[in-house]
């Protein structure tokens, strides 16, 4: 009898995990692949993440953002792996001045740049990429991002601000085609000037 009830509970737990957590494996894989750029490393990371999530699924609060919970576990798993492996590059945590990072703005057509949003994102420092993806692609809140990356919410906000500014700088033509930064355009470094002006207020967000 006891064995049957335990078996039943296991089945119910699995059914719950299968319906709530497992559907996000594609999202997690994409993010893992973006972070590692290696298929087998990304698969390993996703596998470890889901194994860890399964073990601690009793701690997941139903009705909350399961994807954010999984991503948080994935970052912890990744962090653990980074500590034990020198295969992965440790990214400097220092926020660098935008002016030092904004690339020159070559003349490109809107269409060409439209295909390069991801390439532009890839050119940003890693810590800016992460917050932009977690916010704008994964739709995580500032608080969820802060928890996932184990950084203060204020840092999330400032990184997001700088990251988006850099991205717009990288995609200047594309951004202009959608009207971003048109008001401040008055010189050759229009977007950079606009970003610099915004940067001073980023902490007030």
């Amino acid at each position: 009898m006891f064995r049957l009830s335990r078996e039943k509970r296991r089945l119910e737990d699995w059914a719950s995990f299968e319906s709530e957590a497992l559907p996000f494996h594609v999202d997690l894989y994409r993010l893992a692949k973006w972070l590692l750029w290696d298929q087998s490393e990304a698969e390993d990371l996703v596998q470890e993440t889901f194994v860890a999530a399964l073990k601690s699924f009793h701690r997941y609060e139903k009705g909350t953002n399961c994807r954010a919970w999984l991503i948080k576990i994935m970052y912890r798993t990744l962090s653990k792996r980074r500590r034990t492996s020198d295969r992965l590059r440790v990214v400097s945590d220092a926020d660098e001045p935008i002016e030092d990072r904004v690339a020159a703005l070559p003349a490109r057509s809107s269409d060409a740049i439209a295909e390069e949003v991801l390439n532009a994102l890839k050119r940003l420092p890693r810590h800016y990429q992460e917050v932009v993806i977690l916010s704008d692609v994964e739709d995580m809140t500032y608080k969820e991002i802060a928890e996932a990356l184990s950084i203060p919410t204020g840092t999330v906000m400032s990184r997001l601000h700088r990251g988006r500014s850099l991205l717009r700088g990288e995609l200047a033509n594309y951004a202009r085609s959608y009207g971003i930064g048109v008001v401040k355009e008055s010189g050759e470094s229009k977007l950079r000037l606009a970003d610099a002006a915004e940067g001073g207020k980023s902490n007030a967000l």
Partner: protein, 287 residues
């Protein structure tokens, strides 16, 4: 609110991260400022484009077969044992057609010995491979000797650890073949990785086991070489080897189908096993 102020908080507005009062200020400003409406639409569009490109990027696309392997592994772990939802009739199929042995009996084994003495001399694994795996596949699913491949990988043989993913990967099995079950079982004191595959409505077993002491008298196939199957009372067997493992495909299928499975799975299994063997050797070397 001024345009400069709006630009600072425009992204937070899009992310719905502002206080209600600030939201109202933003909305009021947008009502009266066409430039900022244009700017906001642009930022929204940029985000939308980023999300679409990220989600549709071919470089970030998940490998087909990975999800199935992951699910298999997690389900094994969640249920504490390998449990695959094979319909009852499939078990009957397994019992009826696949795993030979005791039913085949001494006569069958004798004919094997007669026809492929050199192979049997190489290793007695062949006998185990065509042995009564029916027990593990059908009747004794709760037996403690049956465990998941990952558990077997952790406990007995590292080479078993990622075999399920290897076999369930896209393109590993022949078109139309279906992986019904993957587990690790014991037979005649030997631990096997055991995959049950359905192909053309028949069942085949793919088995992998460690070679303890290969018989030096027997001809050993070259690495990567697949030894063509032979018959044992209408059952077909094909096998391949790595330095420390041997793999078998056993079925009641015709020779072409049995070989098709063997040719499909052998490279993937061999690659995975070799990698594990090399890792073990590398660790041993380090120590």
């Amino acid at each position: 609110m001024h345009c400069d102020d709006f630009r600072v908080i425009a992204d937070s507005y899009l992310s719905d991260e502002l206080l209600i009062e600030t939201n109202h200020d933003v909305i009021r400003h947008l009502d009266s400022c066409a430039n900022c409406r244009f700017e906001l639409a642009g930022r929204r569009q940029l985000r939308h484009r980023l999300k679409i490109q990220f989600n549709e990027s071919a470089a970030l696309r998940i490998r087909e077969g990975f999800a199935a392997g992951l699910k298999l592994q997690l389900r094994d772990q969640a249920l504490g044992r390998p449990r695959i939802a094979i319909p009852r009739f499939a078990y009957v199929g397994v019992a009826a057609s696949i795993l030979i042995a005791v039913a085949v009996g001494i006569l069958g084994l004798q004919s094997l010995r007669n026809s492929r003495r050199e192979l049997l001399a190489w290793t007695n694994l062949t006998e185990s491979a065509i042995g009564d795996h029916r027990e593990c596949a059908v009747e004794h699913r709760l037996a403690p000797t049956i465990i998941s491949l990952d558990e077997a990988g952790r406990t007995y043989d590292r080479a078993f650890a990622n075999l399920a993913s290897a076999v369930s990967s896209e393109g590993v099995l022949p078109a139309g073949a279906q992986l019904l079950d993957a587990h690790s079982c014991m037979f005649q004191g030997k631990r096997f990785a055991h995959f049950v595959v359905k192909y053309h409505d028949q069942i085949a077993s793919v088995l992998v086991a460690k070679v303890d002491a290969p018989n030096s008298r027997a001809p050993r196939p070259e690495p990567g070489q697949l030894v063509k199957g032979f018959d044992a009372n209408s059952y077909r067997i094909a096998f391949f080897q790595t330095s420390k493992h041997a793999g078998f495909v056993v079925s009641g299928m015709n020779e072409a189908d049995n070989l098709a499975i063997a040719r499909s799975v052998a490279p993937a299994l061999e690659k995975q096993i070799r990698r594990a063997e090399e890792n073990v050797e590398a660790r041993a070397f380090k120590w």
